[in-house]
């Protein structure tokens, strides 16, 4: 593979899969609060 193709492969993977990992970690750090007294 050419250098530019390898660079773009790596950059794409880091940004897109990294973005997914970051988004998932963000959610995991903020767990849902239990809904014990849902005011209706």
């Amino acid at each position: 593979m050419s250098t530019s193709a390898i660079v773009m492969l790596v950059v794409s993977i880091i940004i897109i899969w990294g973005g997914l990992a970051t988004a998932v970690l963000h959610l995991l750090r903020h767990p849902e609060e239990p809904e014990s007294h849902d005011p209706e």
């Binding site: 050419s2 530019s4 897109i16 973005g19 997914l20 963000h26 209706e40």
Partner: protein, 512 residues
Amino acid sequence: MAQQNREQWGTRAGFLLAAIGSAVGLGNIWRFPYIAYENGGGAFLLPYLVALLTAGIPLLILEYTIGHRYRGSPPLAFHRMSKPAAAIGWWQVVICFVIATYYAVIIAWAVRFAGFSLGEQWGDNPGAFFEQEFLQLTGQQPGTVTTFVPGVAWPLVAVWAIVLVVLLSGVRRGIEWANKIFIPLLALLFGILVVRALFLEGATDGLNAFFTPDWAALTSGSVWVAAYGQIFFSLSVGFGIMITYASYLRRRADLTGSAMVAGFANSSFELLAGIGVFASLGFIAVSQNMPLAELELQGINLAFVSFPSIISEMPFGASAFGLLFFGSLVIAGLSSMISIVQVVVASVQDRTGLTRVPAVLLVGGSASVISVGLYPTDSGIFFLDVADHFINQYGIALAGLVIVVVVAWFLRGLPKLQEHADATSTMRLGLWWRVTLGVITPVILGWMMWDSLSTEFTENYEGYPTALLLTAGWGVAVGAIVLGVLLALLPWRRQADDSPMFGDDTTEEGRR
């Protein structure tokens, strides 16, 4: 006090997997790789990311917030936002109904081709096999039906049966449960396929073609429109699916956080698909000694002509590779199909007060009868191709445009929706969110609409006969709008909106 009787997701992960399952569909596998390759290769990453962040994720947040705040299927949610806007919701319901009838057909083809992979039953000429033997095309005028094709009909009935059984089982026990199996399984199967593809001879040539950046492409407006188009069609926005799915969330739900996960997960799968598809295309180009550009690189022909050729050329494990590829298509298709039909089912339930089982039987029964009656014929692929093109452009994309214009410009609803999303999410939305939806998205979608309309009036789509385009194309797209408006105008015995909203546009008393 209102009775809280709306179905709910069991877990946040369950909702996310269902949302990802809906977004990840056939387009991720057969559309994205080609669009990226055609529009700058590696350089496409830039407009693609810009489109994801300035249109895709903001639109996902918008749909999640509408669904969650107004707690309803699209017609009910829009009705609660503003009565006349219910017509947009019903328009989306008709769009979903139309798409469901032909989407199931492609899944049925993939089911058969998974079977054909065992022993490479397509022989030496997969193109001729697909068109003549499998679809029984005889070179007749597209649009004329001369024969019924049982080989498509019976797997189609099976696909409908699976989808309806899942929907009959409910949101939590059906949709959530199915996606908890489908999505990990899809990632596993497709992951194995990609690893195998990477070790094929010529794989690096394919990846070179896919990733080598053509930076000059970034100065072309059409490349940017292609990026927005890909993000828009790939994320399942504009159908009302995300509104429907978000209506089953609990009161406390991280809407923006979920949209980030779903948006990036969809793109992550697309990138994986791009790697797998182009590694495989590099292999077939080398083994058949053909330039890659001359192969069938996208859509139905990529899946049902190019991939059979690739499978036949494999040095070993050909049948397994075929099962992985067509199995992935079936799973990706089923999880999207389930979400599409659920929009219609939920809307019927919300409007009529029917319980789940009769609503699924009514919707599924009528859609499957049309699907099985129309598409397993020797003109099925033409009906499918024309309906798909027109309902995508003048259904989904146009509905997306109308929604942002109506919500942002006419109802001035963005600040209120932003407040709702911020109150329940961990990430706060800023002015950027209102700018992306109020300015960027309408301008780009408007331009896409103008661009595709002007092509439509210059030449017949794919050179098809005008009569076919007027019926299966324009007729379906315009019919969806008319029917949407009529359904919104119909007087009904009762408005079954007795589940409480999570927003406070109207008082509890006002709605009862």
